[in-house]
């Protein structure tokens, strides 16, 4: 599970993805599942948009006072008998995990789903020190068997078909009857459940991520549907929480606000099945729970994002809605983005965390249709931030701008009809951008020769399709923003 980034080759990756029949058949579920479910969940909650404002404001407030909330949080964890460790880099965080594992002579470590762990490349580090990491989220377990990275932040195996999973199970579970019937997804699930159950009971250390850390109480929160995170943190004698600095929220009430938009945006559930608030290790009359509770708080470049425009990205609650609704993600899946975080949120976050030189192609991995910003529960202006990165890449000559970003990219999309809608929105969006405040464009930056002698009308209000939808659906459907 190496995480050498290939984000700089987005276009090449995307080409491969479009030709991958298994991937295309798996991805076909994204719009019918996630997108439709979200729409019906928010239709059932009139306060949804007000809650999004509330979630955005809570995150902004917390970020503006992050040092103080971190201090308050740390105090509370200590008071509850837990330990807080700070790590500047992935290497430091990995070293802390190793130290804790060694102190408890750990051989098997169960893991709940954690994107921070992916960012750290923790599994490779553990394996290199003779500690077996066992991913317990079903999707993570499947991709661990395949030595892959997640292709989606909440559905790590979103890129795979049932037949591929069956093949992986037959390859990995060699002790089981080779003639067994694995025709139904239920059978595959039952097999994984049985195998992982043994690991839950054997593990020495359980590692989870955190959706939120609460300053008021020193609590970490995980949100899951399977229950794997809970077994991971309840059964072993040590629980390690991996979190990044921006997971803080001030109070339980603040967490409740954001939880109301999280699951609805992610899977279209009103609440995920398990929302678990943990505070410190086992207490005097507890029959279960870890004897040791450690929280590792990773910075990895985030603190410097607090200055400047990319601060908005630190509001992200990792719901995945932006990728579910992204025509580019729907067409190429997550691996094309080349590192840990895919989709629009990845296109903005990855350059900040691993450097623009490693990922200059990513801010172009968008059709600029505006759908991501429209659905983001914490209202991150993703298209604007992608444009900012693109401008910076241009300034720093990290890409031959006219050819690759403009014409090259359009040509690429024009050859792939599934992207038609997104690509035309992108064209309109970009033309609108360059022509902002003018009615006619007389010098398109990348078509100078062509526009020299003719004016190009600035598109008014989105593509024909979008305008048509707007006209026919009344006021509730928004036209794509530029």
């Amino acid at each position: 599970m190496s995480i050498t980034p290939t984000s700089a080759q987005f276009k090449t990756n995307a080409h491969h993805a479009l030709g991958d029949a298994d991937l295309q058949s798996a991805l076909a579920h994204v719009p019918t599942g996630f997108v439709a479910n979200r729409a019906s969940a928010i239709a059932n909650l009139p306060e949804f948009d007000a809650l999004r404002d509330s979630a955005r404001d809570i995150k902004n407030h917390t970020l503006a006072h992050l040092d103080l909330y971190l201090e308050a949080y740390e105090e509370k964890v200590k008071a509850a008998g837990g330990h807080v460790h700070f790590a500047r880099t992935s290497d430091e965080a990995n070293a802390i995990v190793l130290e804790i594992c060694k102190a408890h002579d750990a051989h098997i470590v169960t893991k709940g789903k954690s994107m921070i762990s992916e960012e750290m490349g923790l599994n490779d580090v553990l394996a290199a020190h003779a500690i077996t990491p066992v991913e317990t989220d079903l999707g993570e377990y499947i991709i661990q068997l395949r030595h892959e990275t997640p292709s989606h932040i909440i559905a790590p195996a979103a890129h795979l078909t049932k037949a591929q999973v069956e093949g992986d199970f037959r390859r990995a579970h060699v002790d089981l009857d080779r003639a067994r019937n694995l025709e139904e997804p239920e059978t595959l699930l039952a097999e994984a459940r049985t195998i992982l159950r043994q690991n839950f009971l054997k593990a020495d250390v359980g590692i989870t991520g955190a959706n939120f850390l609460i300053a008021e109480t020193g609590t970490s929160i995980i949100v899951t549907n399977e229950g794997n995170g809970d077994l991971t943190q309840t059964l072993p004698k040590v629980h390690i929480v991996l979190a990044s600095i921006e997971k803080l929220v001030p109070t339980l009430e603040d967490a409740a606000q954001i939880l109301r938009v999280l699951a609805r945006s992610a899977t279209g559930q009103d609440m995920s099945v398990y929302t678990t608030l943990s505070t410190g290790p086992r207490r005097a009359d507890d029959p279960d729970g870890p004897e040791h509770y450690h929280v590792i708080i990773l910075d990895n470049g985030r603190s410097s994002m607090l200055a400047g425009p990319f601060k908005d990205m630190l509001r992200c609650i990792r719901c995945g809605a932006c990728m579910n609704h992204c025509p580019v993600y729907q067409a190429v899946g997550g691996h094309a983005y080349g590192w840990v975080y895919p989709g629009p949120m990845g296109a903005v976050l990855t350059p900040a965390l691993i450097g623009l030189d490693q990922s200059a192609d990513l801010p172009n991995a968008s059709s600029f249709c505006g759908k991501c910003e429209e659905v983001c529960p914490v209202r991150i202006p993703l298209p604007k931030l992608m444009r900012l990165w693109r401008d910076r890449a241009f300034e720093r000559h990290l890409m031959p701008w006219t050819q690759r970003a403009a014409l090259g990219f359009w040509a690429f999309f024009a050859r792939h009809p599934r992207l038609y809608r997104g690509a035309t929105s992108m064209a309109i969006g970009m033309l609108g951008l360059f022509g902002r405040g003018k009615d006619n464009l007389n010098a398109l930056p990348f078509l100078k020769a062509w526009t020299k002698s003719r004016d190009f009308p600035v598109p008014q209000g989105g593509t024909f399709q979008a305008q048509w939808a707007k006209r026919n659906a009344g006021p509730q459907i928004k036209a794509p923003k530029s």
Binding site: L68, T161, L189, R197, L252, Q269, D286, D288, G289, I297
Partner: protein, 224 residues
């Protein structure tokens, strides 16, 4: 690792252009932590106790739980026996030291007091700290009365919920929690559970019973 801590804090403060000694910033943070202001509370969970119970039931059913109602705590064992019989399960449940469970007369079913963490049990029973009508969610607190792992290890989880413990929204449940544990203090674990365990990780097909219980059966005790 104290170096890392110091550096992260100074990096945050540098980026924010603050020093940490500004009194107004501290006051804002302390005030928020103290007051814990509520934000937007959805209307849909609100109502009198009878209405709240109905909303809770509707939402819990949407999350694929099964439901039963009984008139009093005394009637719980009979409902448990019925559930076990209807589902062809052994007449055995495992539960914690909650005095309410202990005081029930378990004539038809073996009630086993949980001692160790058992992975092989089919059915567990626990009493919820409360229910949230808004989303049909149960809340459980850790401790010997209702051990946390009983919410997750068995195939069938039977949850007893007293109707008087159903609140309209999360904020009210948190208020109740603060009354019991004190401001700023928490039980070791608070589980919000909405329906049985599930996964859609195999080819986007939604299946129940991933790692946690395949079934969540709620027995509402009509004590109001």
């Amino acid at each position: 690792m104290s170096d890392a801590r110091t550096e992260i804090f100074s990096s945050i403060r540098r980026a924010l252009g603050v020093t940490s000694t500004e009194a107004p910033r501290r006051a804002i943070v302390e005030d928020r932590l103290e007051r814990a202001p509520k934000g937007i509370v959805p209307a849909r969970g609100q109502g009198d106790p009878a209405a709240r119970k109905e909303i809770f039931k509707t939402q819990a059913l949407r999350a694929q739980t099964s439901l039963a109602e009984v008139a009093s705590l005394d009637a719980v064992p009979a409902e448990v026996a019925t559930y076990l019989r209807d589902n062809n399960l052994a007449a055995r449940v495992r539960g914690g030291a909650d005095p309410r469970l202990a005081s029930m007369s378990w004539t038809e079913t073996d009630f086993i007091l949980e001692q160790a963490k058992e992975g092989s049990d089919l059915t567990s029973i626990s009493i919820a700290f409360g229910g949230v009508a808004e989303t049909g969610t149960l809340a459980f607190v850790a401790g010997k009365d209702n051990p946390t792992h009983l919410n997750f290890l068995p195939d069938h989880h039977i949850a007893v919920l007293q109707a008087s413990d159903i609140v309209s929204d999360y904020e009210r449940l948190l208020r109740k929690l603060r009354m019991v544990y004190g401001k700023g203090l928490m039980p070791r674990v608070l589980n919000f559970i909405t329906g049985p365990s599930r996964s859609a990780d195999i080819a986007h097909t939604l299946l129940l019973g991933a790692h946690g219980p395949r079934r969540l059966h709620i027995i509402i005790v009509n004590d109001v």
